[in-house]
């Protein structure tokens, strides 16, 4: 049983605003590099939401993997692909408005439909995690399928191993794709 405190709500609303604004910026600004930077803002603010939901470990992973990994990868890709720099766009981000945005009506329709369904929906009373129980430790137990977790969850050992294989395969695939077809051994 968890009560909603006013401070929590305020923090939530504030960071929701940041998340939504930066996300909208991501898809609307003209330059890809600005988009990437705004994506970083959005990802970090989502990490704050994770903390609010008492998922500190996920928040840490979010920062490490997304901001530290994915965003860097994207930055490299932008640098690799962009041949010449436009000095103006480096300093002043500008929105990329135009008739092409009309296609986005699909996404808006989806949102409207979804939220109107959501209005009529009802949910269970929030349970939350018990005080004093270690969430991070329980995640570790769950991942390796070991007994001893203080919070209940499924056993994820097989999924963990499969993800492992998928990551290796993705790594190999990425290398294969990025390699130039020189045909040689180097």
């Amino acid at each position: 049983m968890m009560e909603t405190s006013i401070s929590d709500l305020l923090v939530f609303l504030f960071f929701s605003g940041i998340t939504l604004l930066s996300s909208a910026g991501v898809v609307l600004v003209k330059d890809v590099w600005h988009s990437a930077l705004l994506l970083g803002v959005a990802l970090l603010s989502i990490a704050v939401h994770y903390v609010l939901l008492s998922a500190e470990f996920i928040a840490a992973m979010q920062v490490l993997v997304y901001v530290g990994g994915v965003l860097i990868l994207i930055s490299f890709a932008i640098m690799l692909i962009r041949r010449k720099m436009d000095p103006k766009s480096m300093t002043s981000p500008s929105l990329n408005m135009g008739p092409h945005l009309l296609r986005g009506v699909g996404a808006i329709a989806f949102f409207l439909l979804f939220s109107s369904i959501l209005i009529g929906a009802s949910f269970v009373i929030p349970v939350g995690f018990q005080d004093g129980s270690s969430i991070t430790k329980s995640i570790g137990y769950a991942m390796f399928g070991l007994p001893g977790a203080s919070i209940h969850s499924e056993n994820f050992l097989a999924a963990f191993e499969i993800i492992d294989i998928a990551l290796v395969a993705a790594l190999v695939a990425a290398v294969m794709l990025a390699r130039r077809d020189s045909g040689g051994e180097n």
């Binding site: 991501v26 994506l39 949102f111 269970v124 939350g128 995690f129 209940h152 963990f160 794709l177």
Partner: protein, 100 residues
Amino acid sequence: MVPISYYILLSAAIFSIGLFGVLTRRNALMFLISIELMLNAANLNFVAFSTLHGNLTGQVFSLFILALAAAEVAVGIGIILVLQRNFSGIDVTKAVTLRW
């Protein structure tokens, strides 16, 4: 805890924004970035419901999604590089070899 419907609304909004990006932008890198947004929206939902039910499954799942997102970005960027090589540009509307 903030009511769950707020989180669902937030994640739906983020997802829709990501979808909006996919639909409107022609840059392949923007595709990738928008998809990251959509994945994060899903993740946020998972974590929110995990807390709602007091069950860790959602959190563990979101970790897996995190890992897969990283892998996806790696492969995606590889594909974008190939796209750049073969079509001399990363405009997705130009790479239409598979059309009628």
